[in-house]
C-alpha cells in the first residue's frame, strides 16, 4: 500500500460513475427512438457495479478495492405503446412501440451519479492534501 492507492481507488470510481452518466445520457437522447439496427425500439440501458481489486498486492488484502462497471444491462420491460397510425414504425393495429424510459427516473439517476462523482473527487482532494502535508515534514 502506498500513498497513491487512494488515488487508484477513487479514480476507478470516477471512471465507473462516468460510464453510468454516459448510459444515462444515451437513455435520455433516445427517449423517442423507435427504430434501432437490432430492430424494435431503443431499450433502456443500466450499469452494473462490482468491486475490483486495485493490484495483485491489494488482492491479497481485500480491504482496499475499487469499483468497475462489469456489464451494461438492457431493460427487458415491454415497450410503451402509443397510437399513431401515420408513424412509419406503426404496426398493423396503428400502435407504435416506444422505448420504456422514464425521463424523471433518468434525471434522478443522473443527480445521484453526479453526487457520487463529487464525493470521489473530494476523496482525491483530501488524499492530495495529505500527501502534500507529508512532503512538508523536515522542510
Amino acid at each position: 500500500m502506498d500513498i497513491f492507492t487512494t488515488f487508484d481507488v477513487s479514480a476507478s470510481a470516477l471512471k465507473a460513475q462516468r460510464i453510468r452518466l454516459n448510459t444515462i445520457s444515451s437513455n435520455l437522447a433516445n427517449v423517442e427512438t423507435t427504430s434501432t439496427p437490432e430492430g424494435g425500439p431503443y431499450k433502456k440501458k443500466s450499469v452494473y457495479f462490482q468491486t475490483k481489486p486495485i493490484s495483485f498486492k491489494e488482492e491479497l488484502d481485500s480491504s482496499i478495492q475499487g469499483v468497475e462497471v462489469t456489464k451494461i444491462l438492457e431493460d427487458s420491460e415491454e415497450p410503451r405503446k402509443i397510437y399513431d397510425p401515420a408513424h412509419p414504425d406503426a404496426g398493423d393495429d396503428g400502435y407504435v412501440a416506444m422505448p420504456n424510459i422514464s425521463v424523471l427516473k433518468e434525471m434522478v439517476d443522473m443527480m445521484s451519479a453526479t453526487r457520487s462523482y463529487e464525493a470521489n473527487t473530494t476523496v482525491i482532494k483530501s488524499a492530495k492534501r495529505m500527501a502534500l502535508k507529508a512532503l512538508e515534514i523536515g522542510r
Partner: protein, 137 residues
C-alpha cells in the same frame, strides 16, 4: 538511549500514526467508491486501541532483547497493524449496500485532520532537532 534515536520514541509513534492514517484513508476511499455497489459491506479500520495498548505496555511483558525473540504482546509500536471490521447492511432495504456516504465523508475529514496533526507534530520535532544541531543558531 539509542544514539540513532536521540530525540524520543514519539517519532516512531508519529511515523506509525501516519502509516495507519494513510491506510485508513484508502479504506474510506474504498467505501465511498463502492457506495453504490450492490451487496457491498462497509469496512471500518480500527487501530487506536492497539496503538494505545502498545504505548502503555504493561510491566511484566517479556522484553525482546534479541532479533530472534518473539514478542508476547503488541507492546511494540511498530508491530501495530490495525484490524478491519465489516459492517453489513441491516436495514433490509434496497441493494444491501452498507455504506452511508455522509458518515464516510465525516470519517474522511477527521482522518485527514488527524493525519495533518501527526505530520505537523513530526515536522516540529524535526525542527527542534535541527535547532539543537545548529547550536541554537
Amino acid at each position: 538511549m539509542n544514539p540513532l534515536n536521540p530525540f524520543d520514541s514519539n517519532i516512531n509513534l508519529l511515523q506509525k500514526v501516519l502509516d495507519l492514517r494513510a491506510k485508513n484513508q484508502s479504506v474510506i476511499a474504498t467505501n465511498i467508491a463502492n457506495a453504490e455497489t450492490p451487496g457491498y459491506a462497509s469496512k471500518v479500520f480500527q487501530f487506536e486501541e492497539q496503538l494505545q495498548n502498545a504505548i502503555s505496555a504493561k510491566p511484566g511483558t517479556l522484553a525482546t532483547t534479541h532479533g530472534r525473540h518473539i514478542s508476547t504482546s503488541p507492546d511494540n509500536v511498530s508491530s501495530v497493524t490495525g484490524v478491519i471490521h465489516e459492517v453489513k447492511d441491516k436495514t433490509g432495504l434496497g441493494d444491501e449496500n452498507g455504506v452511508s456516504v455522509d458518515m464516510e465523508m465525516i470519517a474522511l475529514s477527521e482522518n485527514e485532520l488527524l493525519y495533518e496533526t501527526a505530520a505537523q507534530l513530526l515536522k516540529k520535532k524535526l525542527t527542534l532537532l535541527t535547532y539543537a544541531i545548529q547550536e541554537g543558531k
